[in-house]
C-alpha cells in the first residue's frame, strides 16, 4: 500500500514536472517513468497513473477555471457540445486519466519485463 502511495506521489510529481520541460505528452513520459522507478503490478500501476494524472489535470484545470470564473470554459464547453464548465473539467481530467493510466501501465510492464528473473516478496508483485 505504501509502495502504491509512493508510486502515486511520484506519478503526480514527475508528470507535473515533465509537462513544463516537454510538450503536452510530457505527462505520459512522467507517468511511465514513475512506474518504472517505483514498480507495482500492472493493475495498481494503471490505477496510479489514472488517478495521478487525472487528479492532477482536474486540480490544475479547476483552479485555472476558478480564477477565470469559468468565462472561457463556458464558451469552450458550449463549442464542444458539453453542458457546463464542470463537464469540461471532468472531460479534461478523464483524458489525463486515460493517458496517465496507460502510460503508467506501460511503464510497469516495461519494468516487469526487465525484472523477470528477480524474485520479490512484495504483495504487489507477481
Amino acid at each position: 500500500m505504501i509502495r502504491f502511495a509512493i508510486q502515486l506521489i511520484l506519478v503526480v510529481t514527475l508528470s507535473f514536472l515533465a509537462q513544463y520541460v516537454l510538450p503536452w505528452w510530457g505527462v505520459m513520459a512522467g507517468a511511465a517513468l514513475a512506474t518504472i522507478i517505483v514498480y507495482t503490478k500492472g493493475f495498481y500501476s494503471f490505477l496510479a497513473g489514472f488517478s495521478g494524472v487525472g487528479g492532477l489535470w482536474f486540480f490544475l484545470a479547476n483552479s485555472l477555471d476558478t480564477a477565470n470564473q469559468s468565462l472561457l470554459s463556458g464558451k469552450v464547453a458550449a463549442l464542444l457540445g458539453l453542458e457546463s464548465s464542470m463537464q469540461l473539467i471532468l472531460a479534461t481530467a478523464l483524458v489525463g486519466a486515460l493517458i496517465g493510466g496507460f502510460s503508467s501501465l506501460t511503464g510497469s510492464l516495461f519494468a516487469s519485463m526487465l525484472k523477470k528473473e528477480k524474485k520479490s516478496n512484495s504483495p504487489y508483485h507477481e
Binding site: 509537462q19 513544463y20 503536452w24 505520459m28 477565470n68 472561457l72 489525463g96 506501460t106 510492464l109
Partner: protein, 810 residues
C-alpha cells in the same frame, strides 16, 4: 508473454498519444488543447489582470513607458519613432495577434491553409488570388521604399510584432491557434500591407459594372435608367458650391461608344456589403457653446469579435496622437492630436472596371490589344490546404490587371474572359498619409498629408484647434467620360485605360458658410462639379437627417448633443414612405391582424428605438415590399443589381405602373399599389405569427436581433440580441450584424482636447478575458469612454491602472 504485454500496452499508449496529437475532423488536437499546462485552460485570464511592470525587449533602443488607463487603452511613450512603432507592434500583438494574422491570411487567400478542405473557403482563396490581393500589397511595398520615414515605422512595427511572437511558448499562444492547431508565422511588412489592402477590398471593391451590363442588355435603356440613376434626388451632397469649381477640368469627350453589348453568365464573386459606409461631420466654433469646433466620426462596418479597431495613444518627441488603430498596421487611422482631429467615411465611387479580353487561342498565351497580340503574364498560385495536397491556380495577368473569370474559375459556357482593373492594384502610400495626419498641426498639414492618400477613397472630415473645419473627398479617381466604366469595357484597346483626376481638382471644402461639414456616403458634389461620377450606390437618408439636425442646431451645440446625434434612431426613410404606403392600403377591408398592424404603424413615431413595435412592423413591411418589387431581378439567371431604397420608394410613388412591379409568380398583372397592399397583408400574417411566439417579442430589439460574432463564426464566442436601436439608412446605422464599428467625438479645445470614443468589442482579442467584449453594452447604450490624450506617462494618475516599462536589452 511479458514482452508481448508490454508491447501491447505500449501500442495502446502511443496510439492514444498520437490520436490526441492530431486533428480529428474539425476537433482540435485534444492533447495540446485540453492539457491544463499548455492548452486552452491557460488562456483563461484571472480577473486581476497581471502585468509585468518591467519587460526587457531586444530591439528597443531606449526605454518606453506604456500606461494602461481605466478603460485598458494603452498610451505608449517612446523617445524616438522607431521605438514608438516597435512598441505599438508589440503591444497590439499582445492583445490581437491571432486576429491580425488571420486577417492577413484572409487577405492573401490563404484561409485553406488554416481551415482545411472546404469548397467555400477554397473559392474564397482563389477569388483573393485572382483579385490580385498580394499583387496589390507588393505594389504598396514598392511604393513605400521611396519614403524612408514610413518604411522605418512599418519595419519597426513588424519587429515589435515579431518580438512578441518569439516570446510565446505553446502555453502562451492565443486561444484560436490552439483551437485550430497551428502556430503564428513570422510577421512581415507585407502583412501590414495586406491588412491595408484587406480594408481597401472592403471599402473600394463594391461596384456593379457587370450587373449593369446585364441589366442594359436584358431590360433596355429606358428601364435601366429608371432603375439605376447615377444619383438620387433631391441631392444633399457632401460638398455643395455650385459654380465655384474654379479649375479647368481635363476633358475626356473624345472617347466614343464605351458599351460592349454582352450578357455575363459567369457566377460573380462576392462583393463587400453595400452597407459599408459611415458618418462623419464637424461643426465650427460658430455653432458650439464653447466656441470650439467639434468633430464626429463613426465608420459602419461588419461587426466582429475581436473588433476591427484597437484604441491607442502614440507619443514620441515627434508625435502625440490618439484614436482607433488597425491591428497589424502602424499609426492611428481615425483620431486626433492636440491640434487637429479627423474622421473618415467611405467615398462612394466606381473604382473597379472590367475589360473583355480576347485570347488568341486556348493556351491563353497572347491576347489582342490595339491590333497586336500581346503576351499574357501567367502567375501560378499555390494554395496550401491543411491536411491535404495543395492546389494550383494559374492567374492570367493582362495590361489591365488579372483575369478573374476564365475556363477554370466561375467559367461561362461561351468561353469569355474578363480582366479586372482595380484602384487597389496601384502603388499607394495610404500608410504614409496616416503617418503625416497623425502629426498634422493645422489645415495645411492635413492637406499635405492627404496628397499622399490614393486608395481606398475616403471622405476626410477635419477640424482644428485653430478653428478650421474641412472636408476632402480624397482618392485617386479615374477620369471618366459619360458612363465610361459603368459597364463592361472593351479590352482589345488601350483607349479606356485609366487616367486620373488631379488631386487638386478633387471635391473639397473648407469652412463653408453653413458652419459644418458632413458626409454619409451620399453623392459627393453638386451637379456643377465638372467630372462624371458614378458608383455602385449612394446613401440618401443618413446625410439628410444629419444635415437637417445640424442646420437646426443653433450656436449652442455641446458634445452631448452630438453623442445623441450619433445614436439617433430617427427613420427618415419611414417618415417619407410610410404615410404614402398607408394611403394605398384599403383600410375598410382589413382582418383583425391587419387592423392591429395598421394601428401599430399609425401610432409609431418613426424612431427605431429598442422597445418600438411600430419599427418592427415598418421594417417587416419594407423588407417584404422591397423583395416583391424586385422579384424578377432576384430570379434572373444572370447577375443583376438592385435599385437603392430611395429609388425604390420614388418609383413606387411616381411610377406605380412601372412594368417591373408586376409579380413574376402570379398570372395577374400587378402594379405598385397592388404590391404595397400585398406586402402589407403578407407582413401582417408574419407579424401575427410572431406575436404568438412566447419566446420573443415584437419589440424592435427582439425583431432585429443585433449580434456580433467571432471571426471564426463560433457561436458561443459571440454576443447576441444586443439592446441597440437603429438600422440601415438611419444615423445609428446598426442593423443585424453591421453598424458603427467605432464612435468618436473630439472637441478641439485649444486648452486641451476633450475626446470620447467607444467600439462594439473590447481591447483584448482573448475570449478568455473580461476585456474581450466589455464595451459592447456601453456602445449599445450610446455611452462613451474618455480618450485621455496624455502629455506624459504620469499626467493622468487618477485614470491610470497600470504603468509598464519596456527596457532595451542589448
Amino acid at each position: 508473454m511479458k514482452a508481448f504485454k508490454f508491447i501491447f500496452s505500449l501500442v495502446i499508449t502511443i496510439s492514444l498519444g498520437y490520436a490526441l496529437s492530431i486533428k480529428l475532423g474539425s476537433a482540435p488536437p485534444l492533447g495540446n488543447f485540453l492539457s491544463p499546462t499548455v492548452g486552452f485552460w491557460q488562456n483563461g485570464e484571472s480577473n486581476e489582470t497581471e502585468f509585468d511592470e518591467h519587460l526587457d525587449l531586444e530591439g528597443l533602443t531606449e526605454q518606453v513607458s506604456v500606461v494602461y488607463d481605466e478603460s485598458m487603452f494603452p498610451h505608449i511613450f517612446a523617445q524616438n519613432n522607431h521605438d514608438l512603432y516597435f512598441a505599438q507592434g508589440y503591444i497590439t500583438a499582445k492583445d490581437r495577434l491571432w486576429q491580425m494574422e488571420f486577417q492577413t491570411y484572409a487577405a492573401a487567400g490563404r484561409l485553406s491553409e488554416i481551415l482545411g478542405v472546404n469548397k467555400g473557403v477554397q473559392d474564397y482563396d482563389r477569388t483573393a488570388r485572382r483579385k490580385g490581393m498580394v499583387f496589390a500589397a507588393e505594389n504598396f511595398m514598392e511604393a513605400m521604399q521611396s519614403e524612408p520615414e514610413i518604411l522605418l515605422a512599418v519595419t519597426a512595427y513588424t519587429d515589435g510584432v515579431n518580438r512578441y511572437i518569439q516570446s510565446l511558448s505553446q502555453a502562451d499562444l492565443p486561444f484560436e491557434y490552439k483551437l485550430l492547431g497551428y502556430k503564428p508565422e513570422p510577421w512581415t511588412n507585407l502583412k501590414a500591407a495586406l491588412l491595408l489592402k484587406y480594408m481597401a477590398n472592403d471599402l473600394s471593391f463594391g461596384e456593379k459594372d457587370l450587373q449593369n451590363t446585364n441589366a442594359l442588355a436584358l431590360l433596355g435603356r429606358e428601364t435601366f435608367d429608371l432603375l439605376y440613376p447615377d444619383m438620387d434626388t433631391p441631392l444633399d451632397p457632401i460638398v455643395s458650391k455650385p459654380g465655384e469649381w474654379d479649375f479647368e477640368p481635363i476633358r475626356r469627350d473624345s472617347v466614343a461608344s464605351p458599351l460592349v453589348a454582352e450578357l455575363i453568365t459567369n457566377k460573380l464573386v462576392p462583393e463587400p456589403t453595400i452597407y459599408n459606409g459611415s458618418n462623419n461631420w464637424a461643426v465650427s466654433g460658430s455653432k458650439t457653446k464653447s466656441g470650439n469646433p467639434i468633430l464626429c466620426s463613426d465608420p459602419h462596418l461588419g461587426l466582429n469579435l475581436p473588433s476591427l479597431w484597437y484604441t491607442i495613444q502614440l507619443s514620441s518627441p515627434d508625435v502625440n496622437v490618439m484614436g482607433a488603430s488597425l491591428p497589424g498596421s502602424p499609426n492611428v487611422i481615425i483620431g486626433f492630436n492636440d491640434s487637429i482631429a479627423w474622421g473618415v467615411t467611405n467615398a462612394q465611387r466606381d473604382l473597379v472596371d472590367w475589360y473583355k479580353i480576347t485570347f488568341k487561342d486556348d493556351t491563353h498565351n497572347e491576347y489582342k490589344l490595339d491590333g497586336k497580340w500581346v503576351t499574357t503574364e501567367k502567375k501560378i498560385e499555390e494554395i496550401k490546404i491543411a491536411g491535404a495536397e495543395p492546389i494550383y491556380d494559374t492567374v492570367l495577368y493582362t495590361h489591365f490587371g488579372p483575369v478573374m473569370f476564365d475556363d477554370s474559375f466561375h467559367p461561362s459556357s461561351e468561353k469569355k474572359y474578363y480582366a479586372l482593373r482595380w484602384i487597389a492594384h496601384d502603388p499607394s502610400l495610404e500608410a504614409f498619409a496616416f503617418y503625416k495626419l497623425n502629426r498634422a498641426k493645422n489645415h495645411a498639414d492635413y492637406m499635405a498629408a492627404l496628397d499622399y492618400y490614393s486608395a481606398p477613397a475616403q471622405n476626410f472630415a477635419f477640424a482644428s484647434a485653430q478653428g478650421d473645419i474641412a472636408m476632402r473627398v480624397q482618392g485617386k479617381y479615374p477620369n471618366k467620360g459619360f458612363e465610361e466604366g459603368k459597364f463592361l469595357l472593351d479590352g482589345s484597346t488601350t483607349k479606356h485605360d485609366w487616367t486620373f483626376i488631379p488631386f487638386e481638382q478633387n471635391i473639397m471644402d473648407k469652412n463653408p458658410e453653413r458652419g459644418f461639414i458632413s458626409s454619409a456616403n451620399q453623392y459627393p458634389a453638386d451637379t456643377t462639379y465638372p467630372y462624371y461620377i458614378t458608383a455602385r450606390s449612394y446613401e440618401s437618408y443618413r446625410n439628410r437627417r444629419i444635415n437637417n439636425r445640424l442646420r437646426t442646431m443653433d450656436s449652442s451645440i455641446v458634445v452631448e448633443d452630438l453623442m445623441e446625434l450619433q445614436n439617433d434612431n430617427y427613420n427618415l426613410k419611414a417618415a417619407e414612405s410610410l404615410p404614402y404606403f398607408l394611403s394605398v392600403v384599403d383600410t375598410l377591408a382589413l382582418n383583425s391582424n391587419e387592423k392591429e398592424a395598421l394601428n401599430m404603424l399609425k401610432k409609431w413615431n418613426f424612431y427605431n428605438s429598442i422597445d418600438s413595435k411600430g419599427a418592427s412592423y415598418y421594417e417587416a413591411w419594407w423588407d417584404t415590399l422591397y423583395r416583391l418589387s424586385w422579384d424578377e431581378l432576384k430570379a434572373s439567371k444572370v447577375a443583376l443589381g438592385y435599385p437603392t431604397a430611395y429609388n425604390t420608394i420614388k418609383l413606387l410613388k411616381d411610377n406605380p405602373y412601372f412594368e417591373l412591379f408586376d409579380l413574376k409568380s402570379s398570372t395577374a398583372k400587378e402594379n405598385g399599389y397592388d404590391i404595397i397592399t400585398k406586402s402589407f397583408k403578407d407582413m401582417a400574417v408574419v407579424m401575427n405569427e410572431r406575436a404568438q411566439d412566447s419566446t420573443t417579442s415584437l419589440n424592435w430589439q427582439d425583431y432585429k436581433q443585433t449580434y456580433i460574432k467571432h471571426l471564426l463564426r463560433l457561436k458561443p464566442f459571440g454576443t447576441y440580441n444586443i439592446p441597440i436601436g437603429g438600422n440601415h439608412n438611419i444615423v445609428n446605422a446598426t442593423s443585424e450584424n453591421h453598424g458603427p464599428s467605432w464612435r468618436m467625438i473630439v472637441e478641439l479645445d485649444p486648452n486641451g482636447v476633450k475626446a470620447y470614443g467607444v467600439y462594439p468589442g473590447g481591447q483584448s482579442g482573448n475570449p478568455g478575458s473580461v476585456h474581450y467584449d466589455d464595451m459592447i453594452d456601453d456602445w449599445a447604450a450610446g455611452k462613451y469612454f474618455n480618450l485621455y490624450l496624455m502629455k506624459a506617462p504620469d499626467s493622468e494618475p487618477n485614470h491610470t491602472q497600470v504603468q509598464q516599462t519596456l527596457n532595451p536589452l542589448n
